[in-house]
Symmetry: C2
Subunit: 231 residues, 2 copies
DNA sequence: CGCCGCGTTGAACTCTCTCAACGTGTGTGG
DNA sequence: CCACACACGTTGAGAGAGTTCAACGCGGCG
């Protein structure tokens, strides 16, 4: 949409940008303005690696538009997608709290507008504004729960169940039975702890059963949610 | 050791108990005393279920002595041990932050002295004492990282590697090559995402290779860490 | 328009689970 | 204090789900 790659916001637009970030939702206009003064928004092209394992990362990153894939690479070389973050979400908080070298990777999945916040600044806000700390606690806690969900599903459910559950959760999130996968199938596969081949075969199986319909490589229609739920 | 099951602490002993909790390590003596006044320590027998899925849990629990196993049960019925908490650690914070019904279980693995803190009180401390919020953030963030570790290991490493890595992490934690498993083998198996049979076979294999030695059902000596690391 | 990465399909393999039987130790009650 | 019981742990054999390796078609980005 014709954005320049750089800071093309004037001061009030920047305030508005910061005000839309859930992490700062409890703050007053003055406090928002203070933070906006410390913030550096950047347009980042698709496919950019924000950081990798071993990097020291003195920034908290806030995603205004676009999306970011966070993943790990096990010693065996296997890549696991941990989560995908979208507009309003942040990443890089781990280094803020326990400043060891990061062991995960982050890459943009689409062109994204991302703000960088200095760790020292954020730590200052955490101490001065309890609502910021509390909101961050809420967010991290929700991530922990979701990661625990993935873990117990991986340990306890078979591939078909995990895939079906994932489709149902997408449908619920979008409020529709027809939707596009938010990430490439290979990333879905990694996120669900299966190989792309297995994902492909299971989806083909679901389609054969008449439970879903696939159009192109991304669009999926759920035709029989009840059967999927029982899968 | 002859403890009564009930509150057998006098006021100053209670202060000392609270002062030893890492969550409150940043607070002054007066602030500790204030919290101690709100706290109810309890002796809980081994094997007691603290809460289960579906329970609404208006308490943050702090473990003074003993240990607690936190686990989930997947829809398939499969039990997954998420983590084991020991002295100084807390549980029940999820309900505090997003008060939905809990979907996990907690049970004491040994007789434990546990404090109950009202959610309303804790929320109050979080807002008034930034160091409490910050320490909680540190803790939850470390748990998130450890859960992500489990997840990527489960998705990317085979059973032998996970077991070897677990043994090595125990040795590092204790600072010795000889140690006792902190939990029963069946719980270790669940934590590592394998069946007890597989764990037993792999440990027997390690022993056959001369990498470890088992004594009784709990004690393990690491004889060749380098080989374990390569497993 | 060309190319590379993604997705799909097939076939063989293997790791782990499942089911079953047996041994062991720990805690409890007589 | 001993006997028993039950949960835990071990070992064996068999089955199955998912992976791996390979080839091919397609489509989207440059």
């Amino acid at each position: 949409m014709g954005h320049h790659h750089g800071s093309d916001h004037d001061a009030s637009a920047l305030d508005a940008l910061v005000a839309r970030v859930p992490l700062f939702s409890g703050l007053s206009a003055e406090q928002i303005h203070e933070i906006a003064g410390r913030v550096r928004p950047r347009w980042v092209p698709r496919g950019t690696q924000l950081y990798g394992a071993g990097d020291v990362n003195p920034y908290l990153r806030i995603i205004h538009t676009g999306s970011v894939k966070v993943y790990r690479i096990a010693e065996s070389g296997h890549e696991t997608v941990i989560r995908v973050l979208g507009a309003g979400e942040f990443l890089g908080e781990k280094a803020l709290i326990s400043p060891r070298a990061s062991d995960h990777f982050a890459v943009t999945l689409a062109e994204s507008e991302i703000c960088l916040l200095n760790h020292d600044d954020i730590r200052d806000y955490l101490m001065r504004y309890p609502s910021v700390a509390y909101t961050m606690l809420e967010t991290i806690s929700a991530r922990l729960e979701s990661t625990e969900d993935q873990l117990s599903a991986l340990a306890g459910e078979d591939a078909g169940s995990r895939i079906a559950a994932y489709l149902l959760s997408l449908a619920e999130e979008y409020g529709r039975a027809s939707f596009e996968l938010p990430i490439a199938k290979k990333d879905v596969a990694s996120y669900l702890g299966v190989t792309p081949e297995t994902l492909s075969r299971r989806l083909a199986g679901f389609e054969e059963q008449g439970w879903i319909r696939q159009q192109g490589h991304r669009r999926i229609d759920l035709l029989d949610r009840e059967s999927l739920r029982r899968a």
